[in-house]
Amino acid sequence: MRKLVIPKYFGRPSIGLALFGCTNRPFYHICVFPDRALGRRYESNILEQVGTFDPLPNSKNEKLVSLNFGRLKYWLGERNAHVSVPVLELLGLSGLFPIHPKTFVRARDNREVLKAKEAAAIEAASKKEDEEVAPEEQQSVAAKV
């Protein structure tokens, strides 16, 4: 028989990001939602806001996150809240939780991209030097002749 709600998780709140921005300006509130099993319809019934996340880097190239650790501890420990992956990553970076596995993978990918960029830059620089040196040699040869 089809069950309307999963008894194991019924009434289990979930912590996630709620988009509170406007056009071309994303801004997230880190919120506690009632129960994922109730469906997306009930995502608007936010139980509590436990933080904010500004995904656009500011002038110092920082993405600002604020978290209410006391309330988060309550929702995680006492209420056994489910936490979405993006929030888990933020919690890992903030130090409340260990670093999330996805963060490791992403960081490695980013490092590789940076390495590739650096290598490309070095290669381009060396090519330029070669091109500059080559015409000088040609000129000296022409003078000798």
């Binding site: 995680l76 420990g77 006492e78 056994n80 260990p98 490791f104």
Partner: protein, 262 residues
Amino acid sequence: MLSAYQRLNVAAATSSASLLTSACTSSAQQQQRGLGRRMPKQGKPPILPPAKKVLYHVVHVPWQKPEDVKELLWRRHVYNNAVTSLREVFRAELQQNAAIGKGIESMKEAEEKELEELISENERRNKEKAAARAAREEAASRETKLTMLNEIEETLLKQKEAKRKSEQEVQAAIERSAHFVTKDNLETKVLAALENPVVYDFAIDKMGNKFPNPMPVKYQEGTPTRQKGRLYDETLGSKITATVIENTAEKSESSETERANV
């Protein structure tokens, strides 16, 4: 043979009276049964089959590197274990805090206490400010009263002065009205005017001496000449004319006063 729809209509007509009576009373019940005035739910009618787009929708999981998958497997395992134990740690921490007296209940009490303190402080300040405001307002009202009284005094003085002036004017007018021409004294005034004609046909010098030429006469005899003669031949201020002048000057003055009164 009746169709199902017609039969339904008939049934509705027969039961309409009972429905009407119970319509007002059981609005809550109606809402419970979904018969109230509410918007229909958005989406597909439940009787229709699922759309092909939904039915044959395949979730394409983004491709991951095999080494990443391998790493994520053990990392996730470790991570989940850590999170589970951390949850326990948090729960224990909360319980400990509650036992010590740093829990939510004690926080609530402390906050209530603080709120009460703040309210009492606010009331105290409000009272202080109210007293200060009352004193300030009293002083201001006194000042305003004084200025208003001064203004009233000034206005009254002005009105008194205006009244005095206008009374004077009226008195003067009344005095002047003795010489006025009215219907009663019209005849006498006309006769008086005829008796004392005023002639402005004269020359005048800087001293104010008037030199009429020809000499004015009270009663014109004969036809008055158009040409008054060779005026430029006359030497003004000669003896004969001077005597005449004095008389005429007196006469003219009296006549002028009369005119002014009129």
